[in-house]
């Protein structure tokens, strides 16, 4: 099957937006790097799934979204949540299990959510959030609000039933939803190509739902931004859903427990050379943005992460009186009289 690969259309992206894309990618990169360092200090408990190397997808879409659009993401969702404007300190504190965490310690790394910024949740069961995102899009359609739901998921999700159920429903109901497959090429520890019937796990399935196959370079922020504008615009204009496959690579393992030794060294080297942050920095320099301006962005991002880390570390442990709160809308957990 022939699948069209989108070419960068960088000329269409103006300078302010490009600097915003760069800034966001650097912030997400630095946040994830810091989260990793805090594991090593044993301050981040439980598991954590870093999106190092996948920043261009989160940044490209977030910058193209309207403030009231909805983001649905996976357990690898720190970046997507932060990209919508959620507090970095609250996210870091949640990773540290602190009372000042985004979810007061009740969700953890895999469930970062900030509804006030349209970050409608990080979902830790593969595939679950695709139908849920379709539901948010259905609500937007019913309320005629003009909102769009964007749903990010990994390549492994394309082999689970909920992916197919959600796509079919979204097309049949012509819902304003964009499904974005972040194909980082490994389903946990297994190469996706070895367990999938088609070469491009999302794009090659698009035609089964009457959708255009969209295969893009997920490590190119300009491409991602352009793709986001086009697919979100189509959804907002009543054109229905899109399915995007953004090819990328995670720089680390699946989760903190995974040293990722199953990946050939040459492959890792090759992909590190396509690091979306470095690559975009070089592109901006070549386009005439000054080194000083970029270094200033770099320094500010570091400061932001430092401040967030400090605020998180200052937080008291999660409050034990939270345990029985917020099962129900009355704020409690009573199940009997």
């Amino acid at each position: 099957m022939s699948t069209r690969v989108e070419k960068p259309r960088s000329a269409e992206v103006d300078r302010a937006i490009r600097l915003r894309l760069y800034q966001l990618m650097v912030e997400l990169r630095d946040f994830e790097q810091r989260a990793y360092e805090l594991f090593l200090e044993n301050l981040v408990r439980g598991t954590s799934h870093l999106a190092l190397g996948q920043e261009a997808i989160a940044a490209g879409y977030a910058v193209a979204m309207r403030a009231d659009d909805y983001t649905f993401c996976t357990y690898r969702g720190h970046g997507h949540t932060l990209a919508r404007g959620a507090s970095m300190a609250a996210a870091m504190a949640e990773l540290l299990g602190r009372g000042n965490g985004m979810l007061h310690g009740k969700g953890g790394s895999m469930h970062l959510t900030d509804v006030s910024h349209g970050a409608m949740g990080s979902y830790a069961i593969v595939g679950a959030h695709l139908p849920i995102a379709a539901g948010a899009a259905w609500s937007a359609q019913a309320r005629k609000s003009g909102q769009v739901a964007v749903c990010f998921f990994g390549d492994g999700t394309t082999n689970i039933g909920a992916f197919h159920e959600a796509l079919n429903l979204a097309v049949v109901w012509k819902l304003p939803v964009v499904f974005v497959c972040e194909n980082n090429q490994y389903m946990e520890y297994t190469p996706i190509r070895s367990v999938t019937a088609v070469e491009h796990p999302a794009a090659d399935r698009a035609s089964a739902y009457g959708l255009e196959p969209i295969l893009v370079d997920g490590n190119d922020a300009d491409v991602m931004y352009g793709t986001a504008l086009r697919t979100i615009g189509k959804a907002r204009d009543g054109g229905g859903p899109s399915l995007v496959e953004a090819v990328t690579y995670r720089h680390g393992g699946h989760s903190r427990a995974d040293p990722a030794t199953y990946r050939p060294e040459a492959e890792v080297r090759e992909w590190l050379s396509r690091d979306p942050v470095k690559r975009y920095r070089e592109r901006l320099l070549a386009a005439g943005v000054g080194e000083a301006e970029l270094s200033e962005i770099d320094a500010r991002a570091q400061q932001k992460v430092d401040a967030a880390t400090e605020e998180a570390r200052q937080g008291a442990p999660a409050r034990v009186d939270e345990i029985e709160r917020q099962v129900w809308s009355d704020g409690g957990s009573a199940w009997r009289n």
Partner: protein, 324 residues
Amino acid sequence: MAELSFREAIAAGIAQEMERDPLVYFIGEDVGAAGGVFKATVGLFERFGPERVRDTPISEQAIIGAAMGAAMTGLRPVAEIMFSDFLATCWDMVANQVAKTRYMTDGQVSLPLVIRTANGGGTRFGAQHSQSLENWAMAVPGLKVVAPSTPADAKGLLAAAIRDPDPVLVFEQKSLYGIKGEVPDGEHVDQLGTAAVRRTGQDCTIVALAAMVPKALAAAQQLESLGIDASVIDVRSLVPLDTRTILGDVRRTGWLFTVEENPRLCGWGAEIASIVADECFDDLDGPIVRITTPHIPLPAADVLEDMAMPSVDRIVETVKGGMR
């Protein structure tokens, strides 16, 4: 008061709430022009149109997922899962997503949604279309669970479920769809978390749910002729659970029998037995006895299914034997 069938009462409950609140939407398989395979939603499509009463594909994960995404963003959806057995195909959505998201986000997300489903046996459909699965739902924190036994309760509890700000599963015992009963005229909204004392007796307490309630009442009548005066309590709502009503009656009678359609292990009656044993042991005059379906998949043939499910005769014999 008008006499309605249980299925008419379901449609009336949904219609009442759709009329009142334009954010109430109803989705499911064959629920549109077909009016539902059990004809429990006839007329809604004609009355509210194809946008608010919407057919779905056979995609239970998409049905519940869509209802959840809609509920967290401003709608009040009612989703139908045709047979409760099919909840197994979307249990991730129900148990992991719908039930837990409010808690995990510490209240950032509210999920005012209703999942209606046809539940239970007595229809000779075999083990994959006859299960009593209310206990699955009861076991998951974050889900409210009701199972009405009369047309009036079907309408009133469904309306209450739709107005409730939390996810509610409504289990409609499918052998009850045809029964008739008085339903209050005008707006009728009941209260979740309340049991109903259907019969007040002096000698023992029989606690039952959904289709087991009419059986327990018939058994109580026979027991009366044997000199045993039984209370019959219709649990109605498993979560929240009205333990006050149950404990109050057991304290008075000193005997507790539960009548459960579910297979034996971990039925709702076991939780009630545990609470009663913990909190009014000294008031008991004898052991608590649970009357359930054996721990088997439900068989299809009429003689087998009738033998497996609690019957009026089995209730009478068990109560009589237990109190001897």
